[in-house]
Symmetry: C2
Subunit: 243 residues, 2 copies
Amino acid sequence: MSGLPLSNAHRTNAQTEATSAHPPPSSPDPTVQQPEHAAQGGLTAASAASTSEQSHSLNELSTLKTQLKSALRQFPDFPSPGILFEDILPIFADAKLHDALLRALELHVANAYEKPDVVVGLEARGFLFGPSLALRLGCGFAPVRKQGKLPGECETAGYQKEYGEDFFQIQKDAVKTGQKVLIVDDIIATGGSAAAAGALVKKLGAKVVGYSFLLELDFLKGRAKLDAPVYTLLSSQEEKREG
Amino acid sequence: MSGLPLSNAHRTNAQTEATSAHPPPSSPDPTVQQPEHAAQGGLTAASAASTSEQSHSLNELSTLKTQLKSALRQFPDFPSPGILFEDILPIFADAKLHDALLRALELHVANAYEKPDVVVGLEARGFLFGPSLALRLGCGFAPVRKQGKLPGECETAGYQKEYGEDFFQIQKDAVKTGQKVLIVDDIIATGGSAAAAGALVKKLGAKVVGYSFLLELDFLKGRAKLDAPVYTLLSSQEEKREG
């Protein structure tokens, strides 16, 4: 059943970087019925927060997620037939939703990880909220870009696309040995580009504390490629499609 | 004298989107010796602010600019011989500088324009600070992207690159008739891409109140292509090269 959308999503990815492409959801969104999933990635590191503080922030996070998910727009058959594209741009178009997005990501990070030293965002949609999140967290931001766009000494890592390999780069001094790094992008599809970003961070001797995405193409099982906790803030639109 | 760097900057632009490429500066940076230039774009719209408030914010802006300019890094001969690349990424790597950048842009907007309804940022480096600036200003953010990347109905505008035309798009509902729009990107080179973004905004019936950039390739005279006030926050690094 996933053959057609998988194939389309893959082709699409290679042609137009359409990482927000999403197949029609085939199962209910688990985060709607199971709010305890709001803290995917774990609370184990949140030793300093009291249980009631955690409970309060998880409730706030759950409210924000509902608000944000209802703002997503769906475009069927974009960029190719069989793909339901989830458009995150209405969130950025509205200052209150935009603020809610940053607050939600901030809450998740506070609950789930040691505070990162650097947020690394993937070109191009990871730039839409990675720098703002870094500002909120009071940490640095560094971009991972396509090969040839960053000046100075860079590390390079390849990842598979449908018709061959593509390359990502990070500046060698963008993160330092021992630093804690959170990697962000708008969506996790096959996980190849996120895994390449993680490899770059590790080449520089830093530690990936987690990966945060807004959306996930579950059926592609991209999170299996990543060896740090993976968090997806929003997910499919089952509840809107039933409305 | 500008033949070689102009030609290189142009080729470079087409090949690697290296819009931060900067030729070696040939004249002192006017903003260093002439702090009254800090409010390029004009104070005429700031009718609500008192003269002393304006003076205070211009002093703060001047201090922030000096701080930010000293953080820029220069990479000679990147991405091609004869080009001095100005790297803005150290600003984003440091939370205090990153905050200073947003504060400086916010101060400029408050002094120079009517408050915009929407900040429009150009792919990809305009995404690094456009959304954060929109958050600070409490207004919406909308991206202008390369053709084929945005879902839904879009307006399209072409701009010249060395080997033909490229196309930018904006979603048709990204800005509304009569709204005030600020267009941002990291650098203005030939002005072609910024002019295309302005054309898209105007096609949607909105008004461009100004263009804000971090850097400018003065010798390319890109601002002559734009029909709204143009502001460049930072400029060349003459004072560092003399040190």
